[in-house]
Point group: C2
Chain length 170, copies 2
């Protein structure tokens, strides 16, 4: 019985956010990209969990944290089928699906060095048109270069805290 | 009852490894550094979980995966108090504590460019002496430079699969 209680304590959150139906294997990338991994709050993460709807999925539960618009968009790019539930007093008070916008602004870099979004003199914010949702295909509105999900380079704020640094050794 | 079963399914693993008593906030770094994050198997991760022994801790459970020596050493550097349990048929068949070795070979880079471990002509494997365990303090045996945990640069194999790339935008 004691073990059971401990399990429930880990799994249930009293107030916060549940991100469900994340594409299998993307939960850790989402935590990194959204900066949620730096939270000091309780998080429970399931990776490659068996799912009825899809073959497998990831799930993230975070205590006391609600997502902002940027984080919702970042999730929609990585997992267009994800759902977000807001929890209060252990109950779901709101459930919504993430929505991939028709154009993605600022969140992604265009790696084409001659693209005007990379101009040093007059830098402008990047903007990509979503051509296809799944599998994702987006196009830079300036230079018209097309990107698949695995080719995307995300912009990211400098992390407050850098725990460890990894470098690829050749 | 259905919910309860689902929870248990997520939490319990039939065969695999439980890494417990990870220093709070280090689970995701451990998954990244050890390459375990690329596993296609079921993983459950608790971050900032309340703990009796310490104030809070992280925990990782991975189905069907057993750690190798390198992974155990990487964990010992990031979380010297971590314990590793091997699971078979839902039962713990072996439990061990990670052991920080007195010298750490190859896993860490010396960032001192004039250190002979960085010599282009005659590159030699890095080797660090552990001066203090917690908080960690290590010293390069060649150039004698001293590093704290947050200053360490880990070597890492090129990841098989790169899901997304992040670049810091200035």
């Amino acid at each position: 019985m004691k073990m059971l209680e401990e399990k429930l304590k880990i799994d249930k959150i009293s107030k916060g956010t549940v991100i469900d139906h994340i594409d299998a294997g993307y939960a850790l990338t989402i935590l990194n990209l959204t900066g949620l991994e730096e939270s000091k709050n309780l998080m429970t993460i399931g990776v490659n969990v068996s799912s009825k709807k899809h073959n497998s999925k990831d799930i993230i539960k975070i205590e006391g944290v609600f997502l902002n618009e940027t984080q919702m968009q970042q999730i929609s790019i990585l997992s267009p089928n994800a759902s977000i539930s807001l929890i209060e007093n252990y109950k779901v008070i709101e459930k919504k699906k993430v929505k991939l916008p028709s154009t993605i602004r600022k969140l992604i870099l265009c790696v084409n060095t001659t693209c005007i979004s990379n101009s040093i003199k007059e830098p402008i914010s990047t903007e990509f048109m979503v051509l296809e949702e799944k599998p994702l295909k987006i196009q830079c509105i300036y230079c018209e270069r097309i990107y698949k999900l695995e080719e995307i380079v995300f912009t990211s704020k400098e992390k407050k805290e850098k725990k460890v640094i990894q470098r690829i050794q050749l």
